[in-house]
């Protein structure tokens, strides 16, 4: 860990000003950032603690949706009465992640911005384009069991590891961002970036920008499922995860909002899946078609080959459960 400055501003404006300076980063729960600082993967000169700004509230939005403050703890969000009744998908996704102790500290903003678990990224004696642009990608040709199969680039094959954001992508939530005196709202589906040739960038945030909240649209009808596949039943990141909101109308699929975790550098949302599924009667053949479409451009990197069949099978299981058919 390098020596660093620590400040704890009382206002959002001040925080945003402070983080605009070079190599200053926001600190929320610290469960990801501090770990990475100990390993010297992150070497910020200044930490700007967001915990005194008052962004932890969870409030009704005027349109019937819900606004979750950036500093609301993952636990607070997961147990919130309205989250549980109207967005159970979100609650389940959060509860499937990490451990109780970590969720008590982890926050909405921090969770969205958590960095990849690629072990070449976290080992500073290995090459990594994300940590050190231009140094090469250690995972390519290495142990890439947990790495991405969709949207990868020749520079980086890392995954975004989180669960919460996968649910938010299925729910089509928005990330509220303040910085440089202005505000913008970005769909979660567009918040994280693909690695391309700039893998050092995880998401659209610019220096000086701070996430203030996530807003959920008014609740929609349909069954909500979060399925996380992993070898041990808790305290493990997803090999593959599927977030689904599926509604049926007279035996046909009327809504199919799907997002996937563990497959890409971002929660993966493919709008073509809804187009394919809506209006159709559920069947094994249909689910298979959906999987083929989803995985059309999938590319494995050695050991993560298994993610392709596993995604196919998990998607089938989730759709079968959602549409109540037996496979």
């Amino acid at each position: 860990m390098r020596p660093f400055h620590y400040t704890r501003p009382e206002s959002l404006n001040h925080a945003s000003q402070l983080t605009a300076s070079s190599n200053a980063v926001p600190l929320a729960g610290g469960t990801n950032l501090v770990d990475l600082m100990k390993l010297q993967v992150e070497v910020p000169r200044k930490l700007v603690d967001l915990n005194r700004i008052g962004m932890e509230t969870i409030a009704e939005a005027p349109d019937g949706g819900l606004t979750i403050g950036a500093l609301a703890s993952n636990t607070a969000t997961a147990v919130h009465a309205r989250v549980r009744s109207d967005y159970p998908l979100l609650s389940r996704a959060i509860l499937s992640g990490a451990t109780q102790q970590l969720r008590n500290k982890a926050t909405t903003g921090g969770n969205l911005c958590q960095r990849t678990r690629c072990s070449y990224f976290t080992n500073i004696d290995q090459p990594c384009n994300k940590r050190q642009p231009g140094s090469g990608c250690g995972a390519l040709g290495g142990v890439a069991r947990l790495h991405a199969i969709l949207g990868t680039s020749a520079q980086c094959i890392a995954t975004y590891p989180g669960d919460m954001a996968v649910a938010l992508a299925a729910l089509d939530a928005r990330v509220e961002i303040t910085g440089h005196g202005s505000h913008r709202s970005v769909p979660v589906r567009a918040f994280h970036l693909l690695p391309g040739d700039r893998p050092e960038r995880d998401n659209v945030l610019e220096a000086g920008e701070i996430i203030t909240a996530v807003t959920l649209p008014p609740p929609v009808k349909g069954r909500q499922i979060y399925r996380k596949v992993r070898e041990r039943s808790s305290y493990a990141f997803a090999l593959v995860s599927v977030a689904a909101i599926v509604a049926m109308d007279s035996g046909r699929i009327a809504r199919a909002d799907l997002a996937f975790g563990g497959l890409a550098h971002k929660p993966w949302h493919d709008p073509r899946l809804a187009d394919l599924l809506i209006g159709e009667q559920p069947s094994a053949a249909l689910f298979d078609k959906a999987a083929c479409l989803l995985l059309e451009n999938a590319r494995s990197h050695g050991e993560n080959e298994f993610k392709i069949p596993l995604t196919r099978r998990t998607l089938a299981a989730v759709l079968a459960e959602a549409t109540e058919i037996d496979l």
Binding site: S119, N123, D125, Q126, V143, L239, R313, A317
Partner: protein, 729 residues
């Protein structure tokens, strides 16, 4: 005064059975439990030491080559840095269990990725850690393409070869046979407490608070490494937060802290980071194995072959003893057992809980399941049929043998259905449900041990030894032994362990701790009793002690006045080790569910029945069995070290990425202790129990997965991807 006992023949009579205090075997709570639960037990790094400097180990970021120069100036210029220790006495590898001498000390000759080569010492830990990243080295690394990191790619050395009859012939002749290949992944001990030490040097004596398992050997290893006489070294290790083999021998932190303290004349603390613990202490070797079983129509074994390939660093003697229990567990006249060792550049391979059986038994027991299916015999029946009367090659008798009872009692408690078994018979929603079983076997080890016991006239006693307690309950059982023998409530027995100033114990390792040290305490107590007979004017047979004195008679105060009785007990295994095969036996039964879509496996319930001689404390023995069964779940489903094939570095080196089972993976574990006495195992008729719980359990789970969904996975751990790949659709 000393009581001496060398066991050359079975001890059929044991005083513990005729004593009156009635505390042996009782489920006493560990006496240190509260201190541990409340955080008041002091672990190695936690001793408050004034003026203590902090050291951080620096490790090599390459797997093979030479460090030709270390530029310490940038590092020394960092805030707070006091020194960089890069002297030639630092150790490059950890010592193997029972080595008793320094391990390889050529730190500049790098043999594996993550090998420690220097220590940065600073006023604070943070300063040392930061500065350690500024240490510049020049290296001459060998051609990367030339680094053997893959055991399959090197020409192995044969370590063990034994053959009897003609196995290949038996295989072709037998009506039923199994010929299957397996792999098991490397394992880490993953003890909760990282390796840590605080060293102090007063110009004459080196005192080290360390986290070590076998102080009796560690003192020689440390003295040898730093160039002192043993009488100049004191090691204290009162509490150890788990070792599982990784703390059998000394590791880099203990030596580095000592050298730094001696050079700087100030106390120095060194604690490994979690990543360093994974990268530079003992690993269990990965294995590849071939099992060949040939059986008659009725399942009687005619041929038995077990061949294994394991790995280690160049120059290391240790080869994971995969075949250890295969030698004697089942009958079969035609036998072939071979063990090969590949030299690779991964960190030292050594003992991790149940070395050998932990990975040898699961493969054997899956092969037995395959054979049962081939013969259409109930797998429990197949095992019962093949229990040999004597060692199948040497002809030596077993000291005691409870496999049959364990199989029967386990099957009954579990509700084992002995009907014809077929996979994919039970489905609940998305989940296939199945059951499986396996035998357990683990060789019994025992070691020489000394302990000192003092009986005080006030009705208290003191037990002393440099024995360690790894959290297993050693403190508690020694209080029970002395209490039983001397007629004292165990709460009146003070047990003082983990300090090399005390008599040499056996150390904790290889499951030998309890039986060995308890035997020494037993011998010492016997000597005290002998003296007491004189004070009480009775014979040994008439000396009934209870609650601080003679039962219904004089108290110790009345008997002894103000005189205390002190005896050392010396116990040695003796010739008996060659006359008998001594082993713990058992059986596991597991029910699992396997997700038909995702291949995820969860254990629904598990029963283990074990016979391991006398039970000294029902609660701590049960905990050991359960702990072993938890390890079985890890070995079956999740635990694997992943090495980068190009540079040999360990990829998953923390507890988030190396997956030991979590609470939710572990169902209710039923433990049946099949009580027995083993007169040849030790004078107290007890055997080891620390490892037996994980010697085959992974196979019960693997066999249950097969029974559930039809996926016969032969690569451990059985992760979802492997299940999916083998699952018939």
């Amino acid at each position: 005064m000393t009581g001496q006992f060398t066991q050359d023949a079975p001890e059929t009579e044991c005083l513990l059975d005729s004593m009156r205090q009635d505390v042996i075997g009782k489920p006493l709570v560990r006496i240190d439990a509260l201190a541990k639960a409340t955080g008041t037990a002091t672990y190695a790094a936690e001793y408050p030491v004034k003026d203590c400097l902090e050291g951080v180990l620096v490790t090599a970021p390459f797997a093979r080559g030479r460090i030709t120069g270390i530029d310490i100036d940038t590092c020394l210029a960092c805030d707070g840095v006091v020194a960089v220790i890069d002297n030639e006495k630092l150790i490059a590898r950890c010592a193997q269990g029972t080595a008793g001498e320094a391990p390889v000390q050529e730190v500049r000759k790098v043999a594996y990725w993550g090998q420690p080569f220097a220590l940065v010492v600073a006023e604070t830990f943070e300063q040392a850690r930061d500065a350690s990243k500024h240490l510049k080295i020049t290296i001459q690394d060998d051609d990367l393409s030339d680094i053997p990191c893959d055991p399959q790619a090197v020409e192995p050395e044969n370590q063990q070869y034994s053959s009897q009859g003609d196995l290949p012939h038996a295989m072709t002749e037998a009506p039923h046979s199994v010929d299957a290949k397996f792999t098991t992944a490397g394992h880490a001990s993953a003890a909760m407490e990282p390796h840590a030490a605080i060293a102090q040097w007063d110009g004459q004596t080196l005192t080290v608070h360390a986290s070590l398992q076998m102080l009796n050997y560690n003192i020689s290893e440390l003295a040898d490494a730093v160039g002192l006489e043993e009488n100049q070294v004191r090691i204290v290790s009162r509490f150890v937060g788990g070792g599982f083999g990784s703390k059998l021998g000394i590791s880099a932190e203990t030596v580095a802290a000592s050298l730094a303290a001696m050079q700087l004349k100030r106390p120095v603390r060194v604690a490994m980071s979690r990543q360093q613990v994974f990268q530079c202490v003992m690993r269990r070797s990965e294995t590849s194995q071939r099992m060949r079983l040939a059986a008659g129509k009725d399942g009687t074994l005619q041929g038995f072959g077990h061949e294994a390939l394991v790995s280690n660093l160049p120059d290391e003697q240790f080869a994971e003893p995969v075949l250890q229990s295969s030698e004697f567990l089942y009958a079969g006249d035609n036998r072939l057992l071979t063990l090969d060792l590949a030299r690779v550049h991964r960190m030292t391979a050594g003992s991790v809980r149940a070395p050998g059986e932990a990975v040898g038994m699961p493969t054997l027991e899956v092969a037995m399941d395959m054979l049962a299916e081939a013969c259409s015999i109930d797998p429990v029946e197949l095992r019962l049929k093949n229990i040999p009367d004597r060692h199948p090659m040497k002809g030596t008798p077993f000291s005691s043998h409870k496999l049959a009872e364990c199989l029967q009692q386990g099957a009954e408690a579990f509700g084992w259905d002995s009907g014809l078994r077929k996979p994919r018979q039970r489905r609940e929603g998305e989940w296939w449900i199945g059951t499986g079983m396996a035998s357990a076997a683990r060789v019994h080890n025992i070691a020489k041990a000394k302990a000192r016991v003092t009986l005080n006239p006030d009705g208290t006693a003191l037990v002393e030894s440099d024995m360690t307690d790894l959290g297993t309950g050693t403190y508690t059982i020694l209080g029970q032994i002395a209490g039983e023998m001397l007629g004292l409530d165990p709460s009146n027995v003070l047990v003082d362990l983990g300090d090399t100033r005390l008599p040499r114990g056996p150390g904790s390792g290889g499951s030998w701790g309890a039986a060995s040290i308890a035997s020494a305490v037993y011998v010492a107590c016997k000597a005290i009793r002998e003296k007491l007979t004189k004070y009480a004017n009775v014979t040994e047979g008439e000396l009934n002690l209870k609650d601080g004195g003679v039962e219904g008679g004089a108290s110790f105060a009345q008997l002894l006045g103000d005189k205390e009785l002190r005896e050392e007990g010396h116990y040695e295994p003796g010739d008996i080790e060659d006359d008998y095969v001594a082993a713990g036996f058992g059986a596991y039964f597991a029910e699992v569910r396997v997700n038909a879509f995702t291949g995820e496996t969860r254990v629904n319930r598990m029963t283990g029945a074990f016979g391991f001689g006398r039970v000294l404390n029902e609660r701590t023995a049960r905990s050991q069995c359960q702990g072993g069964m938890v390890w079985s779940i890890g070995a079956a489903l999740t635990e694997a070290l992943h090495f980068d094939p190009r540079d040999g570095h360990l990829v998953n080196c923390d507890l988030a990425e190396y997956h030991v089972p979590v609470n939710r993976d572990v169902p209710e574990l039923e433990v049946i202790m099949v009580e027995e006495r083993d007169p040849a195992a030790s004078p107290i008729q007890a055997k080891g129990i620390g490892e037996l719980g994980m010697c085959g359990g992974a196979a019960a789970i693997a066999n249950a997965i097969y029974n559930a969904c039809g996926a016969r996975v032969r690569d451990f751990p059985i992760t979802p991807d492997r299940v999916v790949a083998c699952m018939p659709d």
